[in-house]
Symmetry: C2
Subunit: 406 residues, 2 copies
């Protein structure tokens, strides 16, 4: 049995690192806050006798030896970075839940057959450096380390330079640190478990997701002296595209989602008709074929909306993560672990992207979900209860031990 | 006859102060660039024997004595601040054209009856500190100095503190420095003069203008895990309002204009449904009664669009400047000056706001327009030719001398 209070205390203690007045966390990837929580994590793992290594893109691995050195380690992991107005649980619960499971084994002197380890994946959120799941993507061979290093934040700072700056560019080749399986505990970030009153989501896979960057170009001009017919208003064009993206998602209800989360308007002055707008589009669906259709509609919409407004545009798909199915034998371990711990569960597909989606390409992988209030995530008010956090960590431990016994 | 080359050289010299790579000027109000151009202006005026004073909100007055001390001065003026991606002529031509007229009188030893002066009005653009024409507004008694001091830029810096910081908070009470008339030379910022091949616009007045600030509140949430039906997407609401504002302006064609120039999206992360959007609305029409109708439509649109999206909003009209008619006898001086200088002209109403619009409340005032290429302004590519600048300064000088003779 894990220690729920110790888990909660660790969650609340680390929530101070980048803690916001509204009770959330702002701990963007490779900032000083990220460095501080990494330092904390490293020290706690070393206190349990783990060996902590860091790979070339900043992923951290804390290994506890097992009885048999010939067996590949069993990993548990998630991420410690957050959104700019992130909550206290997204990602963090997966790492600290794993730490609690590890502490429990340590306290009990429990010896596993295989080594067991905790992974803190770098830049899962993709908010500061797009795309999301960048460093687990490098680990899985989806991206090169050079691609990761070259990613820039909106200020033009590079991933590689910032990684170096906080001292977490490790010597290990990404992907060289192998394990035999990975379990990722995470909050659901959606409303289903709460609505149905169930504690555990047995995650079957992750839906497909695609990100696009669009720059719309018009002409800066005076808001007062420029007649309507002469305008080339880039923000008007972007506004109509934003509306259309919402409509495209509704056309593929109930499973499609489509969103513009980031927009930059230039020159952004009260009395200047906007001459340039940059924005990012996020489209998702569990079926990649439907995503193809949505993408086609998006591209047609850009042309049909912007061209008549005398606007030009550049559009680029900067990321796609195809739909993923998790490993049946690991899913089975989660199901058995849930039963053993005595919780109600349901099968589900993740709407959010997770490091597990990339890791699944190179190792058997699955996930465990717990509820979050109102399904609200990427929000400072994100809330998962003491009991729910404890349940998640308990099921994680049971699933890992079940896998280790097999 | 003014010296066109000297005028052009001064325009190009000061265009370096805040000069942008694209050939425009970024010289926001009360920045170090604003301070530098003010220092330059002061030195040049003093070199002509003028007395330069500064009032409590940062307006600068450079007075050249006339033959008769009992006559109220005749003012020429405009502004030296610019938009973030401003051009080289908006405002600047009015001040440097006045300086050229003053230099011409000085070189010729021409003695006017009344004193003649140049005014550099502070914060005309309203881009850094809303509203526009702030310090001429205080001069005219529309705003209090305290109101001006309290205005904040988007970083929260206050007008009063920044004025103090650059050393241009003068001892003179705003409005105490009286004059008998003001002529403002400016670029048209619209396409009419160029389209009709005329050199001079004889400005009859300024259209009415209103600014609104709107904050739309929804809920930050995960773009991937939040089903469409659960969303409260503030950016979607703002996008629909932006589209509707464009439609409202078209409904009152051909004279109405309506624009959203500034928008701030929060938290502005690629995978977060926007929970809050702030934007500014600019509505204008030559007839205040039509503006009332447009304002009513805007307010209805906010409610009708945002409420069904489960969004709340706050809306505030932060500024209105009613339609203005200029002084007939000054308009007459401009007409005579134009004929004397031998240029084709047409009467027109200004679509842009100008310091003249507020000054007209406390002194007879009018304006002179010259063309700008394509009607493009508030744009680094803003372009008025050597000949057009010279023509404007010549007509300004002729109009002032005509008024002085009367
Ligand atoms: N779990 C999570 O919030 N991941 C961020 C990547 C995404 O799904 O947008
Ligand atoms: N002339 C000019 O560009 N004024 C700025 C104020 C406005 O019209 O928005």
């Amino acid at each position: 049995k894990i220690n729920p209070q110790r888990l909660w205390d660790s969650l609340m203690e680390t929530a101070q690192i980048g803690g916001t007045p509204k009770g959330g966390i702002k701990r963007l990837t490779l900032t000083d806050e990220d460095r501080r929580v990494r330092d904390w994590f490293k020290a706690e793992c070393e206190a349990l006798g783990c060996t902590v290594t860091v790979d070339e893109v900043g992923n951290m691995f804390a290994v506890r030896p097992g009885r048999r050195a010939d067996l590949a380690p069993i990993a548990m992991g998630s991420h410690l970075d957050t959104q700019p107005t992130g909550g206290k649980f997204d990602g963090v619960l997966g790492v600290l839940g794993a730490l609690e499971a590890m502490r429990t084994m340590h306290d009990m002197g429990y010896e596993t057959n295989a080594p067991v380890e905790i992974v803190n994946w770098a830049n899962e959120e993709g908010s500061r450096f797009a795309p999301a799941m960048l460093a687990s993507g490098v680990y899985a061979g989806v991206f090169t380390p050079e691609y990761a290093y070259s990613r820039e934040d909106r200020q033009g700072l590079k991933y590689g330079d910032e990684l170096e700056r906080i001292g977490y560019r490790g010597p290990e080749k990404a992907g060289a640190h192998k394990f035999g399986a990975m379990f990722e505990l995470h909050i659901e970030q959606g409303p289903i478990l709460e609505n149905e009153g169930r504690m555990i989501g047995v995650v079957q896979g992750v839906q497909g997701m695609r990100w696009y960057e669009v720059t719309v170009a018009g002409q800066d001009a005076h808001t007062g002296a420029t007649p309507m017919y002469l305008r080339r208003n880039a923000l008007l064009g972007a506004a109509r595209v934003i509306d259309r993206i919402d409509a495209i998602a509704h056309e593929h209800a109930p499973n499609a989602v489509g969103t513009v989360g980031l927009i930059e308007n230039r020159p952004n002055s009260r009395n200047v008709i906007p001459g340039e707008v940059f924005f990012c589009v996020d489209l998702r669906h569990p079926d990649d074929a439907v995503l193809d259709v949505m993408e086609g509609k998006l591209r047609r919409a850009l042309d049909e909306i912007l061209t008549p407004l005398k606007l030009t545009f550049e559009e680029k798909r900067i990321w796609h993560s195809p739909a993923v199915r998790f490993a049946p034998d690991l899913i089975d371990c989660v199901r058995i672990g849930t039963e053993r711990a005595g919780f109600e569960s349901r099968d589900m597909v993740s709407g959010a992207g997770h490091d597990a989606a990339y890791v699944a390409r190179v190792a058997p992988t699955t996930m465990i979900f717990v509820p979050c209030a109102g399904g609200i995530s990427h929000n400072e008010a994100e809330s998962t209860t003491f009991e729910e956090c404890a349940a998640g960590a308990q099921v994680l431990l049971e699933a890992v031990l079940e896998y280790d016994r097999r």
